[in-house]
Symmetry: none
Subunit: 260 residues, 2 copies
């Protein structure tokens, strides 16, 4: 098989370290990096793409910036919201198509799901259940019936998570549940926080229909805690940049794929 783009297995840890060191904490241009590493610019780009998928750094036009402060911390809320905003917008639009007036829906945390929340004004008489304070703020004056899961507040994602969410979660009947994720692989979705994973699983087990919203950057990434198997989901909505590999995996699991 011809390898290009992102099918590469791995990057030598040696060069990975070199790149990250070269980046320091500022921005480096591609040509600078190519000179430092003694490789072509094309190779640098491929390396950066790989490292971006792992969440180690953030590519920008002309170069890359290191993303972590200390170690792999999760991005702050508003930083995340501005990444791949275009893709997220399109994914949200496609997801909106799945919602009809009168539905009862669940909205998980995450910026893609938040983009969907903003579009719900165009529907009537929804019952919206959510664990996201941002989504709640967005829907406060929407006229929809709004129910918040209780629980412990997690500042990083601005969601309510953990065991305290279960009594309420168990009391509710949810039609369509929309989830975001940090990472998505053949084995399932993963997220950084155990409490977050707990609540995802809880709702995942109770919704009639589970829908995953994940932009193409999420594919191939894993995070700390497993939050659900791939076949827990009925539909996956992603953008056109998604690798064809994903299509195969979904087909095998009989999951419907929507490309926005």
């Amino acid at each position: 098989m011809i390898s290009h783009g992102n099918n590469r297995k791995l990057l030598t840890p040696e060069r990975e370290a070199l790149i990250l060191e070269a980046l320091g904490n500022g921005v480096r241009t591609i040509s600078e990096l190519a000179a430092t590493l003694q490789v072509s610019e094309a190779t640098v780009r491929r390396d950066l793409r790989t490292l971006e998928q792992r969440g180690e750094l953030q590519r920008v036009h002309g170069g890359a910036v290191r993303v972590d402060e200390g170690t792999k911390r999760e991005l702050l809320f508003h930083e995340k919201a501005t990444l791949r905003a275009d893709e997220k917008e399109r994914i949200a639009e496609a997801a909106l198509g799945l919602i009809e007036n009168g539905d009862s829906v669940y909205l998980d945390g995450g910026s893609t799901v938040l983009a969907l929340a903003r579009k719900l004004e165009s529907r009537r008489e929804l019952t919206v259940v959510t664990n996201s304070l941002m989504a709640a703020a967005e829907l406060m004056e929407s006229g929809h019936k709004l129910i918040l899961l209780g629980g412990e507040f997690r500042p990083l994602s601005r969601t309510l998570v953990g065991p305290l969410t279960s009594p309420i979660g168990e009391a509710l009947h949810i039609g369509k549940a929309f989830f975001g994720t940090i990472g998505l692989t053949a084995s399932g979705v993963s997220t950084t926080d155990p409490g977050e994973a707990f609540t995802k699983k809880l709702i995942l087990g109770r919704a009639e229909q589970a829908i995953l919203l994940a932009d193409s950057g999420k594919f191939g990434r894993t995070s700390l805690v497993e939050a659900g198997k791939l076949d827990d989901f009925d539909i996956v909505v992603t953008d056109s940049g998604a690798p064809s590999e994903l299509q195969k995996i979904l087909k095998k699991n009989k999951i419907k794929l929507i490309m926005a």
Copy 2:
């Protein structure tokens, strides 16, 4: 594809930082920024547009102003103008005196209790349980442990109310609970919404110590639903305008009165 306006993927973080720094906290004109950043005015305009979309700054004719953190939050949960702001402020200050580091407190809805929430930055390691989204927004980045009651959202008061709040409420142990009210008479407190009353009673029955924050305007008023007997409360905090009649009634019920 021709790129203009806002199709750009992202702005290098480098220049983003420069712009925000250049803005400082005053207004900068486009030409000033263009000179500082060594780019054309057209580019500055595009950058500003992008940053405005992210909510980082506010464009004005001729330049841009930075949006500060406080304003950002208010965009989400803008507060209605409050009556008797002075009294409420003093009551909140007095109530703060009842809270010690490490306490577990409950915050009810209402503007007086919200004023208290704003003061909690001065304490450490609190566990704050609340049914108020306004209070939650206020405490989001406080570092305190924050737990939200789940339940149905009531837009008017921006609180979570009704039977769905009971499973979580029953699972929690609460030290000091602070309540607001609409009306306060010798027979007890009352409020406009049955769901609101339900949740008040629920917590009232579970807190070790129940504290009522009520400015003098509340006395003598009744509202639709009874939300608690007077002797359910241990402490009442009010302002100096409170009628002496109240003192007598409280004394009879052996309730401590704090005049702010």
